[in-house]
Amino acid sequence: MSTATAANTETKPPAPAVETVRVKVDGRVVDVPRTLPDWQGKPQPTTMLQACAIAGAEVPHYCYHPKLPIAGNCRMCLVEFGTPMMGPDRKPVLSEDGSPKIARSVLPYEPGTPRGAIACATPISPGMEIYPSSPATKQMREAVLESLLINHPLDCPICDQAGECKLQEYSVEHGQAESRFAEVKVHKPKQVDLGPRIMLDDERCVLCTRCIRFSRDVAQDDALGIVNRGSHNSIAAFPGRQFDNNYTLNTVDICPVGALTSKDFRFRMRVWFLKETRSVCASCATGCNILISSREESVYRYEPRQNDAVNACWMCDSGRLNYKWIGREDRLLNVRSSRSGARAWAAVVAEIAETLRSAPQGSVAVIASARQSTEELYLLKKLAAHLGALTDSVERLGEGDGFLVNADRNPNTNGARMTGICFTEVGIQIPKIAQGIRSGRIHTLIVFGEDVTRHGIDSETLSKVSTLIVSDILPNETTRRAHFLLPGCAYAEKRGTFVNAKGRLQRFLKAVEPRGEARPEWEFLQELVHQVTGENLGPGFEALFNRMAKDVPALASAGVEWGKVGDLGAPLTL
Amino acid sequence: MQALLDILTNHREVAMSLAKIVAVLAVLLPMVAYSVLAERKLSALIQNRVGPNRVALPLIGGIPILGPFLTRLGFWQPLADGLKSFLKEDFTPAHVRKAYFWLAPALALVPAFMTMAVIPFGSFLGRERMVLADLNVGILYTFGIVSLGVYGIVLAGYAANSKYPFLGGIRSSAQLISYEIAMGMSVVPVFMLVGDLNLSKVIAYQSDGLTSWLVFKQPVAFVIFMVAAFAETNRLPFDLPESETELVGGYHTEYSSMKFALFFMGEYSNMIASSAMMVTLFLGGWTLPFFGLNATPNEDGAIWMGLAHIGIFLAKVMCLLVVFIWVRWMLPRFRYDQLMDLGWRRFIPLGLANIVVTAVILFLQAKQ
């Protein structure tokens, strides 16, 4: 392993020398790259804000967002800075000790020297000095914040953003304890219906235009603008038009205040109660990285998690709202065997193992959903290989939008291909399996996470199967017919990995406890495989993953390990 | 049924004995109940409180002056306490040793009752002697039985199978053994003076007037006996087996409901038994040196005199019970080492010395 790593580093071409600029941040010398990628990834001159971030000094901002074009309208990131002073001879003026004299922008300033500038849009220049914590900077911030708060309603107790609100945070850090504003605040409409998923509170808006820039430049649906410019300016869509593209909820994420709220999450839970778990969206093969917010074993919302290799900071609304089934009332909760009437996991698994051990080679078929985790598919493949079983998965196609929604709506098709559950073309074996059942050659069918009656094996064929082993989350025709029913877990309830459309292995972690008696599929599959094949793939999840990482060629060649997958996943060569 | 009646009519002693047992129990059990009330009421008064004053019986409570008075006195409280003990959840923890756990409360109560068998609680009623068993070895019997009482507590401590009850049980056994010796020592001079082990004879010895009471003849023996009685009944200042502040509830921590009530009754029965012993041995028993109540009536004595003697005996016992209760608030609890020190290093030598001194005096008197 270590030699391989060494070889890797040797063969890697040395990183091209980055052109750097030397600046001072709060008196500390920092070398920062001359250019950095902008929101589209194109190199652009590094700004003061980025230089400060590299130096570890946070500059407060509202309108600036690394994944959006720069607008520079909130003025919150104003900083004092200085540039080397130039003499009339266009040569730097030197101070007594020989160092270049810096023309500070502090007021009262000498004519011809710069004043405070917005850090988000001002490129750095050699020799520049930035003072993100100087008294002048603090004064500017205080003033900007005071101006933003003049008409802010201060209704934090009823505001959904409270707890993750930049206005709150900066008020604490840079604001004043008391308002000097004695006049009547300007009131604007509240509860404005912008679209099917978005509600706007104009009073809270700080007009940073992040939402406008997002919908114009990222979502390519230029639907928002500012109307009534002046005291009563407000964000709006054209009258009669809905703000309803499939990415609207991202504007709620990037809204630094509580102006844009999600109609789905609105008034459902205060954010400080929510536990955040790193996970991956399972609504399509893109595999957007997400954070699952949960409290007391129920999921409240999904939010995108930044991963520039997959989804940047965004995710689609359809994926984001696709979590409600996890807490559905009709979830399968109880394990059962309708053969023996056993209702305990150990007994049912033992009974299945007994049945499978006595099954003749080739009499078993496995249909496993590409919504199962890679580990589960690997275990099923192990089982299938031992029993000489046909395996396949079910294709689930929709329409892709060329951005984040993939046409393949299964999150783990590539995982299924990699582990050998299905082939490049998904679902070609299913007619063969159906034929096998009808001919009586196949009499044991293992189904994981699919309603096969809707995917090529009708209920009449299914009734010919003498042993039907089904694991699923919600009830359907197949689970009703199952001889052995094993309640499984939603991906929010277990650990695992998906391989997305681009072949990136991404892990998801457990956010909530499984409902009822449901257990993670990998857990009981591990036991089942052990009992049927005698091969122990445990103990525990990490051992299973690492074993799989050695067994599956695509993973082995990438040299992945559970401890190395990380939050951003690992690219594989398919 | 017929056979039983036959036995009763043909064997008068059996019938009478049964009647006396029933009578003794009929007095003893209410006494236990009301000594609890007395304890609570006296404690309250000593602590500037009111004490039980709530329980009222529907009909009697309605009687104009008497009803409210009895209620304020807490007269019906023992009824409520008893009822509560029966109705409370009888909880048996999972970790206890079940058989011993059930046995222990009974063992704690029974010896206290059995002690009463040899105590003469009156002279004669009609032709009947007012003692259940007029044993010649009465005092030995008492000591034998009383020492059984500790088994109940030790067993409770052991059966509960948890640390505090266990410590309570251990403490109790050590305490009882220590003070049993001192107690035994203290009564030896009494019998040296009386010359008999029969308790009736002891009372007869004391019937010559106030000066013949053994409390005056043997004050040292009385003090040792009394202190030892406190220790044996686990009363403050010697309540180390159940000291709440250290051991939660001591040996009965894990008990609830009626089982706990049995321990409670046992403690108070023991107090009554000890008081009765003290009255018999040192305070003249049922005699009173006034109004001719000293005289041992002959077998055909007047009924009123027999009743008076029983009354005198009970009155003396009650006075001692008040002392038991009062002492509880006078002294703080002893430390365990102090308790042992007092038992082994003070009372046993003192008791021995008392025996020797008494013997010498008796020897000198006999020589004269």
């Binding site: 230029d222 639907a223 928002l224 603008g225 500012i226 109307v227 009534n228 410019r229 002046g230 709006a236 869509a237 054209f238 009258p239 009669g240 038009r241 | -």
Partner: protein
Amino acid sequence: MTFTIPRELEAELDELATRYPQKRSASLMFLHALQERFGYVSKEAVEWTAAKLGVQPIHVWELVTFYPMFRQEPAGRHQLKVCRTLSCALGGSHKLYRHFCDRLGLDPNKHGLQTTKDGKFSVEFVECLASCGTAPVMMRNEEFHEGVSCEQADALLARCS
């Protein structure tokens, strides 16, 4: 009621749009022309403009809501514009405005353009009409009036037919 643009106006505007390096820059000219033609800028006019100039209607709408001179609803035949900027405010323009409102049965506390029910008059406050020396100043349609007192206002109203 469908929104139809007369052919000659459309041709005129098309030509207008070609004069600007960016078509979007013609938005204001379009809006002026449409208001001139229809008396106000309707939502349909905004959508038509946006389609013509290849922008989203919201961005044309932003302009319409920003400039007070663009009306979003039809005005009366006689549009009375009273200046309320500093000199006029000190010179009694609020009194004048209130007087007009009272005479015409309108609510003086309401914001924006108000039109009488018969559609004859519209009254509104506007910003500086650039004659601060002769406050209060007002306009009736394109007609300029300086130093208007309440009596003169009554006379003005009487002159309108």
